[in-house]
């Protein structure tokens, strides 16, 4: 089982984190050293892929669909993503996740208490995920594309990324081990309560605050101070 190094928690190792994510979540960038990759083109292709997914899902989207939507040739896509459709899809997913985390980080940064940080992380993540057009399209119409990442071993890299993201925001309040464990706990809660009809609607800050008050804060109070992990 992959263990993420402590460096990831400081945000220094975001590429390190990528390297340990499942292959489907990791884009392989092309090009010999020195070649300037046009990241604008990459982003345009990824954005086009996402629009295609929102219309017909992953399986039924072809590279030609993406090329047409991006207004470029298949050759251009292959130049940017030699791995083809799989590479484009993985890269698009990765880019969306990182963008979500950027926005989430900004929201969490504005808080000044632990409870507020937790609530901001929970509601922010829930709203971003459930409001994401491509993701919700897949959840409803092509669940096989996303379910492998929400259960069993497939969930572990998602949890690990959540931990590397949230831990630094919790460290002002908690020792490192507890911060890492709490980050993972919170990520699990977002996944667990994201279903319609769940007793807590974590997109609602009041519900999120209730869940945090009932379960998370008492859990933290009951925590024995942990030794620093080396």
């Amino acid at each position: 089982m992959a263990r993420f190094s402590e460096r990831d928690g400081l945000g220094l190792g975001s590429r390190l984190t990528e390297e340990r994510l499942r292959p489907a979540l990791v884009p392989t960038r092309p090009g010999p050293p020195g070649e300037v990759t046009d990241s604008g083109v990459d982003r345009r292709i990824e954005a086009a892929a996402l629009r295609c997914i929102t219309r017909r899902g992953v399986r039924r989207t072809t590279l030609d669909d993406v090329a047409r939507e991006a207004g470029c040739s298949r050759a251009t896509i292959y130049r940017a993503f030699p791995g083809g459709k799989d590479a484009v899809m993985a890269s698009a997913a990765h880019a969306e996740i990182e963008q979500l985390l950027d926005h989430l980080g900004a929201a969490v940064e504005r808080t000044t208490t632990l409870a507020d940080a937790l609530v901001a992380a929970i509601t922010g993540a829930t709203r971003a995920v459930l409001g994401h057009e491509a993701f919700t399209y897949l959840l409803v119409n092509e669940p096989g594309a996303v379910q492998p990442y929400l259960a069993f071993d497939g969930l572990d890299p998602v949890l690990a990324r959540a931990v590397s993201f949230l831990t630094p925001h919790l460290e002002p309040y908690l020792d490192r081990t507890t911060a890492r464990r709490t980050a993972e706990w919170v990520a699990r809660l977002v996944v667990l309560y994201a279903e319609p009809g769940a007793p807590f609607d974590l997109a609602d800050p009041d519900d999120a605050r209730q869940l945090v008050a009932i379960h998370v804060l008492p859990g933290l109070e009951a925590t024995r101070p942990q030794e620093q992990q080396s």
């Binding site: 263990r3 669940p143 096989g144 069993f152 969930l155 690990a160 699990r188 667990l192 379960h215």
Partner: protein, 193 residues
């Protein structure tokens, strides 16, 4: 057990064996009938919904057996705390060591996960009932409802049994911390001293 029940079980067990041999997608009703040594008509009698119903009920049956084993493994513990600790350790290992489950997750996860999501509300309800019964004999925090607590414990339990995250379930101290803090701190009344 009646003859009907035993035939139904025979078909379910045969389905599992076929899936082990050929995978989920490639297992046909005919394969199952042959393996169970019954006619197709017999299979349809017990599973009028055909292959779809057969696969669904086989999954529900196997998951049910998993939780039965879990219940047996945790029976030796008398407290909720003890049952959760043992349940997490045993359950996590049982998932990892379930050869058929791991094989399908590696080769054709989509079909199985779709089945498990369909079966999930039923399974969740059973586990929730189990926790609810246990909670009735424990002192709860004053403003906590047993129903909400049972729901919370069920969700969190499934999450950890399925995916270990950063935790090492072979470490009793870690499991003790996990259960005490994340599962029970918000549920059970604080013990004095």
């Amino acid at each position: 057990m009646s003859a009907n029940e035993s035939t139904r079980l025979r078909v379910l067990a045969a389905t599992l064996r076929c899936v082990e041999r050929w995978g989920l997608e490639k297992t046909s009703l005919e394969d199952v009938a042959r393996e169970a040594e019954v006619s197709r008509a017999t299979v349809y009698r017990y599973f009028p919904g055909g292959r779809e119903q057969l696969v669904h009920e086989t999954v529900v049956w196997e998951v049910g057996r998993f939780f039965q084993l879990l219940e047996q493994a945790t029976a030796v513990e008398s407290t909720l705390d003890g049952k959760l600790r043992r349940g997490l350790m045993f359950g996590h290992r049982a998932v990892k060591e379930h050869a058929l489950l791991q094989h399908i997750l590696a080769t054709e996860p989509e079909a199985l996960l779709a089945e498990l999501s369909n079966a999930f509300p039923l399974i969740e309800q059973a586990v929730r009932g189990y926790f609810l019964a246990l909670l009735r004999s424990e002192p709860l925090r004053p403003d906590v409802s047993a129903a909400e607590a049972a729901d919370y414990l069920t969700r969190l339990f499934f999450s950890y049994v399925g995916s270990q995250g950063q935790w090492d379930f072979a470490e009793p101290d870690a499991v003790d911390d996990l259960v005490r803090t994340q599962f029970l701190a918000g549920v059970l009344a604080e013990r004095p001293g």
